[in-house]
Symmetry: C2
Subunit: 350 residues, 2 copies
């Protein structure tokens, strides 16, 4: 029998279900676990070494003891999972071979045993010297695809329309704004620091941007930037920003409900949305969406966005941490906005 290497496999596990926003204490770095570096024969699985892990706001939903959502919760005591980029080391799946790079749902750990049948979004990555590998978790991954599907499929944009994006420098928002500009729209973004506002205006090409933390009256801020109203609001935050946007929509405006980081972080005593009534006289459409409903256009997305990137028409800002032990703090930081751009953690060299 062939000798199989057994190595330590550090993991980040969920300590316990959370109630509000995640804190570092809700997760734990577990050392001492070991793993055989092979994919068992007959298992149809393949073993990967994880290189980059993605931290995404939706993961908070899986940290709760709530079993009726579109994704099951994580299991306390077991490793967290999320999108990652990894290299195949051994395989019992004929479609995956040692050396292949893959992007899909993996574990928050050094090595993971994966099954392609468990992951509709699993895909192989071709090395391309013009594109950083980690971008497959952001610009060319779930976040970028959320921006692409949400903007084109949900917002029904038209040239010349006015577009507002919240959390605009985030993993999704920064691409929405750039796509809207390429589409010929007027684009304004909100963000939570002056540094992010500078990025939006000077690197990401937004027409205007503002720091919502410096605005006492969000309605007045939006009136200032959209004196004639908003055609499209790409909502990443919910809460009081959504309420203010509802007051400023144009007739037949569209609101893509993409995420509600702000509401998520509040308890059930939050004040709620008060201006939904305005959707009637203004005939506004609000639509919640998930990128996973649009996977049929993923190939088209990859082609378009790779093209735009290589032509220098779009840029992408990443916030890269280093080391598995930093994944919990990177995830927690999303909810206070400490990240600038797409939050990724490199846990091994390419």
């Amino acid at each position: 029998m062939e000798a199989v290497a057994v190595v330590e496999n550090k993991q980040v596990i969920l300590s316990k279900y959370i109630e509000g926003i995640p804190t570092e204490a809700d997760m734990e770095l577990k050392v001492g676990e070991t793993i055989e570096l092979r994919a068992p024969k007959g298992s149809s699985s393949f073993l990967v070494k994880n290189l980059y892990l993605s931290c995404d706001p939706y993961m908070r939903g899986r940290m709760r003891d709530f079993h009726s959502s579109y994704l099951p919760p994580f299991v306390p005591g077991q490793r967290i999972e999320g999108f990652g980029l990894a290299r195949v080391i051994d395989s019992d799946d004929g479609d995956y071979h040692p050396g292949d790079l893959i992007c899909g749902i993996t574990g928050w750990e050094e090595y993971s045993l994966l099954r392609s049948s468990n992951d509709l979004q699993l895909r192989k990555i071709q090395l391309d010297d013009d594109i950083p590998l980690s971008y497959h978790l952001g610009l060319l991954g779930m976040a970028g695809f959320t921006a692409y599907a949400g903007f084109y499929e949900v917002c029904s944009p038209k040239k010349g329309e006015s577009v507002f994006v919240s959390a605009a420098s985030g993993a999704v928002g920064q691409l929405v704004g750039q796509l809207a500009k390429l589409h010929g729209c007027y684009v304004v973004g909100s963000a939570g620091s002056n540094q992010k506002v500078d990025l939006l205006k000077n690197q990401l090409g937004f027409d205007e941007a503002f720091n919502y933390k410096e605005e006492a009256d969000l309605d007045a801020a939006l009136r200032r930037y959209f004196p004639e109203g908003i055609n499209i609001y790409f909502d990443n935050v919910g809460g009081s920003m959504l309420d203010a946007a509802l007051l400023n929509m144009k007739v037949r405006g569209r609101i893509a409900l993409c995420g509600m980081v702000s509401l998520q972080s509040l308890s059930s005593s939050s004040q709620g949305i008060n201006n939904l009534y305005n959707a009637i006289p203004k005939r506004v459409r609000l639509e919640g969406f998930l990128q996973s409903d649009y996977l049929h256009i993923f190939p088209q997305f990859l082609e378009h966005i790779k093209g735009y990137y290589k032509e220098g028409k779009i840029v992408y800002i990443e916030d890269m941490s280093e080391g598995l032990e930093l994944v919990p703090s990177a995830l927690v930081g999303l909810f206070s906005g400490t990240n600038i751009g797409k939050q990724v953690v490199r846990i091994a060299k390419e």
Copy 2:
């Protein structure tokens, strides 16, 4: 010169702008005004005798000092206007002749001088012994058309889907529910009294109905009637019912935002909508609409609904008051639900 009759023209005027819900004190019956019973030559106007006036919740919006809505406010001291059914007495408009019956925007007064160019929804009515004349203000008027356009054009219904209607015995809701049944849907309605619930189940053909005032937990009530969730919520009330419906929508459910009588009646200290987040994992679409955007299908609506009515496939419940002096209390009653069915006031014999 021909002698022209001059008669008294009692009017209901807006006393002052309102803040919350209208009260009878916000309106006043003004006597002693006179009017010449003719349409001045060269005016392109026509003079009508008003027969029936329609009381509709949207009118509250025009009683406020708010000038940015889709309709201008009424003017304090001047007569209120709304949909009415009237007979032409004199005309300087070649398309309208003495004796014609018309339905459109008229004044809350005995006689009105109208101009067709002011009213996109003005139309002539053919007497039809099978259809009560007043139905042109309800079943075959703005309310019925709101139900028709909202259900077919906004809700995108499919056979077998589950439909929830609030204010279900009202002018709009009663037709939505019947159309949904004819479409092969499972239909549940909510209303504010046991008498209305009986109507829904025993006369209007709803599968189920409940009295929301007797439900301590609206979420639990909806779970009881929709254990597998709601495909379509036709929302006439907003507020806590909308919030409960958001918790019970099926994946890709649709919410037609038609009116928010409940929210309208509350002050700005209302608690707001807390469950909009659910629209994201459930991919729910909420859409505000106005019937006036769909006038291109009005002829089709008339044909279909007249047909259904004559075939006995639908019924329509009216609440008829008598006399111009009762129009204010009839309007006010809409906001506490004292009306049963479509509220109309007959102010003159046909």
